[in-house]
């Protein structure tokens, strides 16, 4: 903002010195107790935690399925499960990880908890819809489980026709499950967009929004625009199986390539639903532990929107070998390269933020570095897959599998782990074990690369994805990959264990253990039921690390909304810039 404007913006404000109670008596956890209170709560923080529990459960399930797959691939022929079972396991691994873990993980679990706090609101705009979205998620999951115990599913998570219209496994249960699940995602997105627009506390202008909020905003836009297309696609597919509509199934006069267009019109933007909120977490964590203002605020904020926009125009790069026209293929390839630009802008700005920062290598920061390393590899291999001639060779090989896991697991899940460790003290009021945190982060890093680096090599040499058997020359690569997956699994189990352990034995966290300047850290840990004991007026930006901590104070809004009177209030002149 220009200096001339600043002087005209000087207003008299009541301010409260920044010093939230270190040992709060009333928190959202003590406010209402008992199972029923949790199941019927409309508090965004509790709903966020319920989502976190559900996502963790599905991540465990999907992870165990992945370990079963890797174990089966130890030998070129059968190791311990039948080929049909193998097909069902990789389908369920994909469907669970994509629809039940990656899509809701950051927005619905962490985002639900953090977003209203970062904009200084008491809750999201529609708390009851927020609770409904959780139960819709549960109902979608139940439908998918019915399929699991009723013939299973072996189409792969992509449900390509005509196989999905002819297989004897229970496609309808899963497509209906995904259809229902979509509404949970749509409701979350609608809630977030409205909250960000309408419920920001006084003083939080668009230029003072934390980058996490910008990322969630871009994510919500994709959720609202893309998910309904998936909904109609799986509905048409369900009807195709039920009454042979003839839109997708060639046997009835339909077109299977049309299904691929419909499917990827959602499912490509969906990978940005998964990764963009991760970008938001990285921006938050990287400034906190560099103790430095973010470099290129607007570049990072707007690149999230740019990714959301371009992400809608690239779905055809999944279909280079499907027989779509050469012109379309060329255009899609070109547009795919464009996504690399805003993503590169983000990476470079984060690295510039590190420059001359005073870096504190806590576990969340360690995960940020792992993210930067793994996600860059994932991004670059994505460019290779987006180039036409290379993709013809690499299409449907383990190269694609490795690329996808580098961006989704190396990107989204590492960001999720960074965010989970970063906000864990805020959510629970307890510190996790820093030593075990670092040990498991290192195990995860080593295990991840052991698992997926060999898959790039195998894929480039022609090992197709989803195959039950393979030729002998790939044995060492597959076995390295399997060993890596065990190491990765061990690292994640340790994380689960010490995080749960900290709930009972962890040290008290204090309101702001990282000395962050973010608004959510100016509430108590764990926060009050209403997040803040008064409506905050935000005076400082979320990344003002050049200002000393003592200067951090919140203004008081005229209304207290009927909450506790403040004791430490003084009048002073502050710039509202």
């Amino acid at each position: 903002m220009a200096t001339a404007e600043v002087s005209s913006n000087i207003k008299k404000l009541q301010v409260k010195r920044f010093k939230p109670a270190e040992d709060p008596k009333n928190t959202y956890l003590t406010d209402e107790k008992g199972l029923w209170a949790w199941l019927t709560t409309v508090d965004h923080k509790k709903i966020g935690l319920m989502y976190l529990g559900a996502v963790a459960f599905f991540f465990l399930l999907g992870g165990l399925l992945a370990l079963a797959l890797r174990t089966e691939l130890w030998t070129p022929a059968k190791t311990f499960i039948e080929a049909d079972t193998y097909n069902q396991i990789f389908t369920l691994h994909g469907a669970i990880m994509v629809f039940f873990v990656l899509v809701p993980s950051i927005p619905a679990a962490l985002g639900n908890f953090i977003l209203p706090m970062q904009v200084g609101a008491k809750d999201v705009a529609f708390p009851r819809l927020n609770l409904a979205s959780f139960y819709i998620y549960v109902i979608g999951a139940i439908f998918t489980f019915i399929a699991l115990f009723n013939n299973g599913l072996d189409t792969g998570w992509t449900f390509y026709t005509p196989y999905s219209t002819t297989t004897t496994t229970s496609v309808i249960w899963v497509t209906l499950g995904v259809f229902i699940l979509g509404f949970s995602s749509i409701l979350t997105g609608t809630n977030f967009i409205t909250t960000i627009h309408k419920l920001r506390a006084p003083g939080i202008t668009w230029s003072k929004l934390p980058l996490n909020i910008w990322a969630l905003y871009a994510t919500s836009i994709i959720q609202v625009l893309a998910t309904p297309v998936l909904a109609i696609t799986v509905l048409l597919l369900t009807m195709e199986r039920f009454m042979g509509l003839g839109i997708f199934d060639p046997a009835n006069g339909g077109d299977p390539v049309l299904f691929q267009h419909f499917f990827w019109f959602y499912s490509h933007p969906a990978v940005y639903i998964m990764i963009v909120p991760g970008f938001g977490i990285i921006s938050e964590v990287i400034t906190t532990f560099s103790k430095k203002h973010i470099f290129g605020y607007w570049a990072i904020a707007l690149s999230s929107l740019a990714i959301a926009f371009i992400g809608f125009l690239v779905w055809g790069h999944h279909m280079f070998t499907s027989g779509q026209s050469a012109v379309a293929t060329t255009v899609f390839s070109f547009l795919t390269f464009l996504v690399g630009i805003p993503t590169g802008i983000k990476i470079l700005n984060w690295v510039a933020t590190l420059y001359k920062g005073s870096i504190e290598m806590k576990t969340p920061m360690l995960y940020v570095f792992i993210f930067l390393f793994l996600f860059s590899i994932g991004g670059f291999t994505g460019i290779m897959l987006g180039s036409l001639s290379a993709d013809i060779h690499l299409h449907d090989t383990y190269y694609v599998v490795a690329h996808f896991h580098y961006v989704m697991m190396g990107g989204t899940l590492m960001a999720l782990l960074a965010g989970l460790h970063y906000w864990w003290p805020k959510m629970t009021g307890k510190m996790y074990s820093e030593v075990w945190g670092k040990i498991s982060a290192v195990l995860v890093f080593i295990g991840f690369n052991l698992t997926f680096l060999p898959q790039f090599v195998m894929g480039a040499q022609g090992m197709p994805r989803r195959y039950y058997n393979y030729i002998d020359q790939f044995t060492p690569f597959h076995q390295t990959s399997t060993i890596g997956s065990y190491v990765l699994g061990l690292g994640l189990f340790i994380t689960l264990f010490y995080l749960l352990h900290s709930l009972w034995r962890g040290k008290k966290a204090g309101s702001n253990p990282w000395n962050s300047r973010g608004l959510e850290w100016q509430a108590t840990s764990p926060p009050d039921f209403h997040n803040f004991d008064h409506t905050p007026v935000v005076i400082h930006g979320p990344y003002d690390y050049h200002k000393p901590m003592e200067e951090f104070q919140l203004g008081l809004a005229v209304s207290h909304n009927g909450h506790g009177e403040e004791t430490d209030v003084k009048e002073s002149k502050v710039t509202t810039n």
Binding site: H197, K198, I232, T233
Partner: protein, 216 residues
């Protein structure tokens, strides 16, 4: 931020600062939801465009099997209901309780008329053997992909009819609340956002009618 009164009105939820914020948020939420509805139908329109581009003769021929007269009547009925729902909102804004209730009842009645006409259209086609997909048995005209047109017809009008049913439920709920006198010029948010939804349902039909019935 507007001045905050010391007493909270009954309709104000705890997490909003004032009624204006609550109204703006509700309205925006509904608009975002409508965008999402448009994309949901967008998939069906896209399927329509693709198949019509491939089989233009099929669409011309099959369209003759649809009853243009009843389609036109239904269009008029829905446009009329959009008018009455708008008048209901107007009544609420002007504190006219009786006008609000009457307009809501007329809207419900018109929506029911739409559904009844739709039911007659469907049952007439079922008698002829015009079913969606693989159950299609009609032999009135020759085209290898004849069933595909009617699959698209049933999906589009069927999903739309579901939205009409949901709309009837919502407007009935609004009516029940208006009988209890919950709405006034101070608070009419549910009336307004239900009206928005109803306009969209109407608007989609306005596109469906010419696309399906009026192909020459």
């Amino acid at each position: 931020m507007a001045n905050h009164s010391t007493t909270h009105p009954a309709h104000l939820h705890h997490h909003f600062v004032d009624s204006d914020q609550q109204f703006d948020a509700a309205k925006m939420g509904m608009w975002v939801f409508l965008v999402n509805e448009i994309l949901f139908f967008g998939g069906l329109f896209c399927a329509y465009i693709v198949f019509r581009a491939w089989y233009p003769d099929l669409f011309q021929e099959a369209s003759h099997e649809l009853n243009t007269l009843w389609g036109a009547v239904n269009t008029a009925v829905l446009i009329g209901s959009s008018l009455t729902v708008a008048m209901a909102i107007r009544s609420a804004q002007k504190d006219q309780q009786r006008g609000l209730r009457i307009n809501l009842l007329i809207t419900i009645a018109l929506a029911c008329v739409f559904m009844v006409i739709k039911a007659f259209e469907y049952s007439h086609k079922f008698e002829l053997g015009i079913f969606p997909g693989e159950w299609y048995t009609y032999t009135g005209f020759e085209h290898p992909k004849a069933s595909v047109f009617f699959s698209i017809y049933y999906m589009m009008t069927g999903v739309h009819a579901l939205h009409v049913l949901v709309g009837i439920g919502l407007i009935f709920w609004i009516y029940r609340r208006s009988v209890k006198g919950e709405f006034s010029s101070e608070y009419y948010t549910p009336v307004e956002i239900t009206g928005l939804y109803w306009h969209l349902v109407d608007l989609i039909w306005i596109f469906l009618f010419p696309l399906l019935y009026l192909i020459e």
